[in-house]
């Protein structure tokens, strides 16, 4: 009784690593532990995949 499309499902990859930045409500930006703005650290963002298309997020259809 499983819908046809779900025959092609695979386990979702869970992002186990904690994001190394925290939201600063004063700046309205995420900040790295060394005080740098996370959005300017492309190496970290690439490593975390936090800006990428994720093939369907949990809460949003639009990736």
């Amino acid at each position: 009784m499983q819908p046809f499309t779900l025959n092609y499902a695979r386990p979702a990859v869970q992002l186990d690593v904690a994001t190394p930045y925290a939201y600063d409500s004063g700046l309205q930006l995420n900040i790295l532990p060394d005080g740098r703005i996370a959005a300017t650290d492309h190496a970290t963002l690439r490593a975390l995949g936090t800006t990428t298309s994720t093939a369907g997020s949990k809460t949003h259809f639009d990736d």
Binding site: M1, Q2, P3, F4, T5, L6, N7, Y8, A9, R10, P11, A12, V13, Q14, T19, Y21, Y23, S25, G26, Q28, L29, N30, I37, A38, A39, T40, H42, L45, R46, T50, T51, T52, S53, T54, A55, G56, K58, T59, H60, F61, D62, D63
Partner: protein, 327 residues
């Protein structure tokens, strides 16, 4: 005049735009509707024929009449982090927040009504056809026999979710997947199934549209890739995204799509075939853009910031797809 950004705290892609707005000296208030009644507060009154409303978060207070633009980026469910969350409270909070915001004269990226409609893939396919974009032959059906006949007409097919959503219990991903020629389509009866002719692609195209500004990026397909590796989000990457010019006819069609969909922002996915034709796959009305900007250096965040600030071509109103409170 302030730009209101509705998104989650961890949304670092939104940070890229907050930075640009800050550099331009544009006031920003950023909040997540999920924090309503627990860090975010609102108030609005309708008295003697006048309307006033305010939002507050993190010590900031903004008048609803003082908003120049509203960016609906990755907002949480209203009041999801309230002390006692419930479906009822979420609906109450949603009606209060978005109802008040709809009263403002701010420009939206994207208006909730336009966004809701634009998420429907069958509607996207139809609009793309109407706008002159090539659309791969597609069938959405719960009839197994219709699926079998479609597979006879188009033997090389892929399947993908109609909604783009993925099952959560347990969490699973459903990438666009190739359908084997001898597939049994009986289970099509158990859920709407989207089958589409596979485009033998030589590249993926991501076209990010902001107002009337079109920024396209191209990722060449791996010439040694297996035909089963259909979905660029799951396939091994052999090349970064690279900037590419938008063919004039595609640009014309995309701008028409945005106008008809009343969208100020859209992330279009195309598959480029061996003849260089860009086949429309979908338009994500809130698609990610950070990964494209980081690879290509294209100023997507700055362009969004400009649009939100009301600069350049983005300063125009409904003709470019933005909606005001009158909608």
């Amino acid at each position: 005049m302030t730009v209101l950004i509705l998104t989650s705290e961890e949304d670092v892609t939104a940070d890229m735009v907050v930075l640009r707005l800050g550099e331009a000296g544009v006031p920003v208030v950023r909040l997540d509707p999920a924090d309503l009644t627990n860090g975010v507060a609102l108030s609005g009154e309708y008295v003697h024929g006048a309307r006033h409303g305010h939002l507050s978060v993190g010590g900031r207070l903004v008048s609803m009449n003082g908003l120049r633009a509203i960016w609906v980026r990755r907002p949480g469910t209203p009041a999801a982090r309230a002390a006692h969350p419930s479906a009822w409270l979420a609906e109450e909070s949603s009606q209060a927040l978005y109802g008040m915001l709809r009263c403002s004269d701010a420009r939206w990226m994207n208006h909730p009504d336009a966004a809701r409609r634009a998420r429907h893939k069958p509607w996207q396919l139809h609009l793309a056809q109407r706008c002159g974009l090539p659309v791969p032959a597609t069938l959405i059906t719960t009839f197994p026999q219709a699926a079998r006949e479609f597979a006879e007409r188009f033997p090389d097919l892929v399947v993908k979710p109609v909604s783009g959503a993925h099952p959560q219990e347990p969490p699973r991903a459903v990438p666009t997947s190739r359908v084997a020629p001898d597939t049994d389509f009986t289970a099509v009866a158990f859920g709407p199934t989207l089958l589409q002719r596979r485009i033998a692609k030589r590249a993926d195209i991501r076209l990010t549209a902001v107002g009337r500004t079109l920024l396209a990026a191209r990722k060449p397909a791996d010439p040694d890739a297996r035909p089963e590796d259909v979905d660029v989000r799951f396939a091994p990457s052999v090349s970064p995204w690279l900037p590419v010019d938008v063919p004039p006819r595609v640009a014309e069609s995309v701008l028409r799509y945005l106008a008809d969909a009343e969208l100020a922002y859209g992330a279009f996915d195309f598959a480029e075939d061996a003849d260089g034709i860009w086949w429309f796959l979908e338009c994500n009305q809130s698609g990610q853009f950070g990964f494209v900007e980081m690879d290509t250096g294209q100023p997507i965040a700055a362009t969004i910031a400009d649009w939100l600030a009301g600069n350049g071509d983005s300063g125009r109103r409904c003709a470019e797809g933005d909606r005001s409170a009158a909608s």
